[in-house]
Amino acid sequence: MIEFQNLKKVYTSGGQQVAALNGINLTINKGEIFGVIGFSGAGKSSLIRCVNWLEQPTSGRVIVDGYDLTALSAKEIREVKRNIGMVFQHFNLLNSKTVFANVAMPLILAKVPKEEMKKRVNELLEFVGLSDKANNYPDQLSGGQKQRIGIARALATKPSILLCDEATSALDPQTTSSILELLKKINREYNITILIITHEMAVIREICDRVAVIEAGKIIEEGTVFNVFSSPKTETARNFVSSVMNDQIPDSIKEIVEKNEGLQKIFRINFIGNSAGQPLLSQLAKKFDIHINVLFGNITELQGTPFGNLIVEFQGAESEINRALMFISQEKVTVKEVKAHAS
């Protein structure tokens, strides 16, 4: 478990004070995959680096598995760090050492006996699927393979927490999903708490249980991935969500709609879970005297639950449209009138 309590980090650069973290309160539960998303400079990097003391906060507390880091000595913090693995964007492997030696490094530092160390390293290489590369050097590996080695190294001392600092940002989409799969497997098999910081909403959608949106050193929105994706509350969260879930009416369609002035009304209908499987629109068309024009639609899966998003135009008498809306409101869907040019 990781707990941030009123965490602040202020940098002084060129006589000017810049607050990277401006009072963060956040709890990451044991065994969950938690994502922190934000633009560059939002403070997410400072936040994750406070967990393993690569950066020291100016004020506030960081509590890791019950230990208040601000109250520990340098030596005690080094001990706590053995319980925290970290995976980096640029892998940060030693180029002068073999893959085996890289993975062994944390065990050597912890003075683990040689036989036990060898056994553990081979086990880890097996787990990440790179046993055959043990004697290769990092520069002989692809980006995805390097990150697998980085992950194996981070897991060497059997930590309870894994920090991922933009772990997939330097990888291509295909490699990204294989690394995310691996992280999921780690979380499942070892019940390791994973804290991920990223600027890619796709990463959050892919593996996180909960997500926090950070902006200007503050958490501006927090919740389950499903809730944040299906109903983002802040502008920034909406922007991130729309970066992976296209939910806007395409421009060309917008133009056509805008030309057809008249009785038309435009609604956004969101389907969640089972309701995504019902033939709602065809029921409406049969029951009521209205025409339905679908302007936009898609279905995304969020944490295993289907989430549908439809933008439709209802044409017909106002009374008929209202009756139809009454009918919809009885179903497990949300409906909202929107202007053609707005969201």
Binding site: R82, N92, S96, M105, I108, L109
Partner: protein, 216 residues
């Protein structure tokens, strides 16, 4: 020719001795100093600006004095350490004062090339400062450190020849006394030839060793 082959071989041995001993002592001086220059600088492992500024300043002072002046200026120190200011052993003292700070700078450069991310990973693993220096910083810079020492050794070959001018012995002494002052072109050509071969040999050896460490 005014000298025989025995004299040339003797001079060669003196040069090798001067270079070897001064390399050894200046490495002992320069290596910790170079590490210090890296880890005490702003934002590094053991940031300590007073220590950094003082060592940085001292190194600059020694590096700005021309070797021939340095040699004369520290004669009292040389006498104190070796008991005399003439001869091969005496030449080692100014050579160390010359090459030590030089090696510190070269090492500083090599160590600064190490990816800071690697050191960050080490810190994240809970490595102590000593572990970071000896298990991460130096191994990662090793190939470049070998090249730095190659440059320093070649610098010492040149400087040791200069030390010959003030009675340090060695090939430089031979070249000055016989080749230059007594106009024996043959001696001059032979000594310079030997120095050229030494430098070529050292550089080639350093390159091969560094390449082997880098494996590419």
């Amino acid at each position: 020719m005014l000298v025989n082959s025995e004299q040339i071989i003797e001079a060669l041995i003196e040069t090798i001795q001067m270079v070897a001993f001064s390399l050894l002592f200046s490495a002992v001086l320069g290596l910790p100093l170079g590490i210090l220059l890296v880890i005490t600088r702003k934002g590094h492992l053991l940031e300590n600006l007073p220590v950094f500024n003082v060592s940085n300043g001292i190194i600059n002072i020694f590096r700005s004095v021309p070797f021939i002046i340095l040699m004369v200026a520290i004669i009292p120190v040389t006498r104190l350490i070796v008991g005399t200011s003439i001869g091969t052993a005496a030449a080692v003292v100014p050579l160390v004062f010359y090459a030590g700070p030089y090696i510190a700078r070269l090492i500083e450069n090599s160590l600064l090339e190490v990816d800071p991310g690697v050191l960050e990973a080490a810190q994240a693993m809970g490595a102590t400062p000593a572990q970071i220096i000896f298990k991460f910083l130096i191994p990662e810079a090793l190939s470049s450190l070998v090249l730095a020492f190659t440059i320093a050794t070649i610098g010492l070959v040149g400087a040791s020849a200069m030390a010959g001018a003030v009675g340090g012995g060695g090939l430089g002494d031979l070249a000055i006394t016989y080749g230059y002052q007594r106009f024996d072109t043959m001696v001059m050509l032979i000594t310079v030839g030997i120095l050229v071969v030494m430098v070529q040999g050292l550089q080639t050896f350093g390159n091969i060793l560094s390449k082997r460490i880098r494996r590419r």
